[in-house]
C-alpha cells in the first residue's frame, strides 16, 4: 500500500491510500469528481530545521516556497491574513470549469499556488524571483490604478493573479489562472500538500528549462521526479538571492 502512495494518482484511486495521520484524507477534491484536479502523494511540509511546519506559525503575507509536486516545480505558500473566498468558479483557457474551494487554517486564509506563471512560465529560482505574492500595502505596475495589491505578480510581463479567488488572472497578458496547490491541515496544525487544481503547465515547464535543471537539479530526469514524503518550506527571501518586483 505504501508503495502505491508513491505513484501519481488521480480521481477515486486516491481514496485507497489513506495512511496516518487520519485527518489527511486527500478525499476532499478527489471524491467530488471535480474537473482539473490531480491528486499526488501527500507531502508533509517541513520547516528549515526539518520539523513539521505549523500553520499558526506562518507570518501573514509572507512568501514561503516549497517544491511540489515535482522536485523542480516551485510553489508559494501564503497566509493571506484574510479568508480566501470559497467555492469560486473558474475557467481554464480551454473552457473547462473548475471549482476553488477556499483556503485552509482557522480563518481559511492559507493558500498555496504553483509559482510557475501560466503565461510564459516565469518562476522563482535560487538566483532570482520575478514571481511572488505582493502584500496588500504594496504597489505594482501590473495594477497601476488599484488601491491595494494583495495579489501574485509576475514582474516579467506584469500579470497579476488574485489569491483570494483561486488564483484568477486579473491583469496583464496571462489569461489562465494559477494552479492551486491543495493543502490539508491535520489535528496537530501541520500542513500537507495533496494535489493540484486548475490547468497546469508542468509538462511545458519540464520541456522549457533543461539548462536550468542542469544547474539546479543535475538533469531533467531528476527535476521531474515527484516530491516524496516531505517538502522543505523556506521564506522566499531565503530561497532566492534576489526578489524583483515591479
Amino acid at each position: 500500500m505504501e508503495r502505491r502512495s508513491f505513484l501519481k494518482m488521480t480521481g477515486a484511486s486516491a481514496a485507497a491510500v489513506v495512511i496516518s495521520p487520519s485527518l489527511i484524507t486527500q478525499r476532499l477534491y478527489a471524491e467530488d469528481g471535480l474537473s482539473l484536479y490531480e491528486s499526488y502523494e501527500k507531502v508533509h511540509l517541513k520547516d528549515a530545521d526539518g520539523n513539521p511546519l505549523k500553520a499558526s506559525t506562518l507570518q501573514p503575507e509572507v512568501n514561503y516556497v516549497f517544491n511540489f509536486p515535482h522536485i523542480a516545480t516551485p510553489c508559494i505558500l501564503v497566509d493571506l491574513g484574510r479568508p480566501a473566498n470559497t467555492n469560486v468558479k473558474l475557467k481554464a483557457d480551454d473552457g473547462t470549469e473548475y471549482l476553488f474551494k477556499g483556503g485552509v487554517g482557522k480563518n481559511g486564509s492559507i493558500v498555496a499556488y504553483s509559482a510557475i506563471c501560466p503565461h510564459q512560465l516565469t518562476h522563482p529560482t535560487p538566483d532570482d524571483s520575478f514571481f511572488q505574492y505582493l502584500e496588500r500595502k504594496g504597489k505594482t505596475l501590473a495594477l497601476p490604478n488599484a488601491n491595494e495589491a494583495g495579489v501574485f505578480v509576475c514582474s516579467s510581463h506584469l500579470s497579476a493573479f488574485d489569491p483570494v479567488n483561486g488564483g484568477k488572472a486579473i491583469a496583464g497578458p496571462a489569461t489562465e489562472g494559477l494552479t492551486q496547490i491543495v493543502l490539508e491541515i491535520d489535528e496537530n496544525d501541520e500542513l500537507w500538500a495533496v494535489g493540484a487544481l486548475g490547468a497546469n503547465r508542468f509538462h511545458d515547464y519540464m520541456d522549457a528549462f533543461k539548462p536550468e535543471f542542469k544547474k539546479y537539479y543535475e538533469n531533467k530526469r531528476k527535476a521531474k521526479r515527484l516530491v516524496k514524503d516531505e517538502a522543505k518550506v523556506v521564506a522566499l527571501k531565503h530561497f532566492t538571492k534576489e526578489i524583483i518586483q515591479y
Binding site: 501590473a142 495594477l143 497601476p144 510581463h157 534576489e242 515591479y246
Partner: protein, 461 residues
C-alpha cells in the same frame, strides 16, 4: 484529378483525405490548385513574426477544428526585440538566442507552416497567391510588419544608391542579414566613430530601439576599449521613447562616448568614403522649417553607420487592397483588429493603424485579442470590440542600457478605447524600486532577459 493536384502540395499536418474542392478553384481561372483545406473555418496568416506565430497558436488552442496556415517568406525566425544586446556583445547572447525554427510550434499546435512569399491577394475570390502555391481562406490575418521608406526620405537617391546604402549602413530593424552585417561591422571596426541615425519621422518599429542600440554600442566601445564615439543624428531633440531615462543613463555611464545631436537632417551618405553629411539645426522649430541657411552642414567620417530610414507598412496591406493611412498602415474597423475595408480580413502587429506602440509585446497582445474576435466571427457570434478595455498594461517594454553590470529601463502602456475611435496606448516610464532613484536597475536588466525568454516560450512552446 483534383486529388492528385492537391497532393503536389504536401503540407505538414494537412490531411489530404477530404476531397473538398473549394469553389474558388473552379471559378478562378488559372488558380485551380489550392494547397490548403477549405473547411469553412480556414484561417490564413500572412507573416510568421511575433503576431503571426501567436495568432496561429492561439486559434488552434481555442479550437482545434480551425484550419490554420502561416505563410512566411523567411526560413528562419529571428527576433528583433533583444537583438541590440547581441549587437552590444552581452554575455551569452548569440544568434541562437535570437533565432528559432518554425517547425516545432507548427507541429506542436497543429498549424501548417509554409515558407513562401505572397505575390497576390484576391479578396473577392478569397485566395492568396504565393511563390509556393495558392491558398484559400475564410479569414485572412495580415501580420506582415514594416518596410523601409528610403525613397520617401531620400527622393534624390537612385535605386542603386539605396541598395548600396542599405547594405553598407544596415538598418537592422528587420532581422536577418541586416543584423549580421551590422554585427560584423562592429566586430571588425578599428578605433573611430559609430553613427546611428534613428528614423527621421513617423511611426517606426520599436520606438526605443535606436536609443537602446546607442546604449549597447556605447557599452561595446567602452568594454572593448575602442577609442571612439557613438554619434546619434536625431530629429527628436531628446523627446523620444523613454527619453529621460535613456539620457540619464547616458550621462551616468557614457559621458564623452555618446554624442547626441537632436536637431539634424541627414542629407547624404557616401558608403565608398565612409562619410555622412547632415545639416545641424539649432532647435525643433528651425529643424521643422528646414531652411538650410539656418543650419550648419557637416560631413563626418564613420567606422560603422546604422542608418534607420523612415518606416512604412509592409506592401502586403496594399496588395490586399485595404484602405490605409498615408504610411500604408491598415485602417481598422473601430476598436477591433479587423480591417475597415473587409470584415474577413484581420490585421495585427506593426501593420495596424491603432495608436498603440509597435512592439513585440503589443504584436502578441493584438494577436491574442484578434484570435478571440476571429473565433467569435467563425462561430457566427458578435463580439464587443471594447471588451476588457482599458487594459492597464497592454505593453511592457524593457531596454538594456548597460552591459556590465546589466541594467535596463522600462516603459508600460495602458491601452484605451480612445474617443478618436482607435486603440491608443498611454505610456508610463517608472523608476524601479531597486534603482536607488534612477530609471535603470539591475533588476530590470534581469527582467529584460526574462521578458525575452518568456516571449520565446510563448511563440515556440
Amino acid at each position: 484529378m483534383s486529388m492528385e493536384r492537391r497532393d503536389l502540395f504536401k503540407l505538414a499536418g494537412v490531411a489530404a483525405a477530404a476531397a473538398v474542392l473549394p469553389s474558388v478553384a473552379v471559378t478562378t481561372a488559372g488558380a485551380a490548385e489550392i494547397a490548403n483545406k477549405a473547411s469553412g473555418k480556414t484561417v490564413l496568416v500572412v507573416g510568421g513574426g511575433f503576431g503571426g506565430l501567436t495568432i496561429a497558436k492561439e486559434l488552434k488552442k481555442k479550437d482545434k477544428t480551425i484550419d490554420v496556415t502561416v505563410i512566411e517568406k523567411k526560413d528562419i525566425f529571428m527576433a528583433c526585440p533583444f537583438s541590440n544586446t547581441y549587437l552590444g556583445g552581452l554575455e551569452g547572447v548569440s544568434l541562437e538566442t535570437l533565432t528559432h525554427d518554425f517547425y516545432a510550434p507548427a507541429t506542436k499546435h497543429g498549424y501548417n507552416f509554409v515558407q513562401a512569399e505572397v505575390t497576390a491577394i484576391d479578396r473577392k475570390a478569397k485566395t492568396v497567391t504565393t511563390t509556393n502555391g495558392n491558398f484559400t481562406y475564410d479569414i485572412l490575418v495580415l501580420s506582415p510588419g514594416i518596410a523601409y521608406d528610403y525613397k520617401g526620405q531620400f527622393p534624390e537617391w537612385s535605386e542603386e544608391k539605396i541598395a548600396h546604402v542599405a547594405h553598407a549602413c544596415p538598418a537592422a530593424l528587420m532581422p536577418g542579414s541586416e543584423h549580421l552585417a551590422l554585427k560584423r561591422q562592429l566586430v571588425d571596426m578599428d578605433d573611430g566613430d559609430v553613427v546611428i541615425v534613428p528614423p527621421a519621422q513617423g511611426k517606426y518599429r520599436c520606438p526605443p530601439a535606436p536609443y537602446e542600440r546607442t546604449s549597447m554600442v556605447a557599452n561595446y566601445l567602452k568594454e572593448e576599449g575602442i577609442k571612439g564615439k557613438v554619434i546619434v543624428l536625431d530629429t527628436r531633440g531628446g523627446k523620444f521613447s523613454k527619453g529621460a531615462a535613456f539620457q540619464e543613463s547616458w550621462k551616468d555611464l557614457y559621458d564623452g562616448i555618446i554624442d547626441y545631436k537632436g536637431f539634424t537632417k541627414v542629407i547624404d551618405v557616401d558608403p565608398a568614403k565612409n562619410e555622412i553629411t547632415y545639416l545641424e539645426f539649432t532647435d525643433a522649430a528651425s529643424l521643422l522649417e528646414g531652411d538650410p541657411e539656418e543650419a550648419k552642414k557637416h560631413t563626418i567620417k564613420y567606422q560603422v553607420c546604422n542608418l534607420i530610414p523612415n518606416n512604412i507598412c509592409s506592401p502586403v496591406i496594399k496588395m490586399a487592397g485595404l484602405e490605409t493611412n498615408p504610411a500604408g498602415y491598415a485602417l481598422m474597423d473601430g476598436y477591433t483588429l479587423r480591417s475597415k475595408t473587409d470584415k474577413d480580413v484581420y490585421v495585427i502587429g506593426d501593420a495596424v493603424s491603432h495608436g498603440i506602440p509597435p512592439s513585440g509585446h503589443t504584436a502578441i497582445w493584438t494577436a491574442k485579442r484578434a484570435a478571440g474576435q476571429i473565433q467569435a466571427q467563425l462561430a457566427g457570434k458578435s463580439f464587443d470590440p471594447k471588451a476588457g478595455l482599458p487594459v492597464p498594461v497592454g505593453n511592457v517594454c524593457y531596454s538594456m542600457v548597460s552591459g556590465n553590470p546589466e541594467e535596463a529601463i522600462m516603459v508600460t502602456h495602458e491601452f484605451v478605447a480612445h474617443e478618436n475611435g482607435m486603440l491608443v496606448g498611454n505610456g508610463n516610464v517608472p523608476k524601479p524600486k531597486d534603482g536607488n532613484g534612477k530609471f535603470r536597475s539591475k533588476g530590470t536588466g534581469k527582467a529584460t532577459r526574462e521578458w525575452f525568454a518568456g516571449v520565446k516560450r510563448e511563440l515556440f512552446m
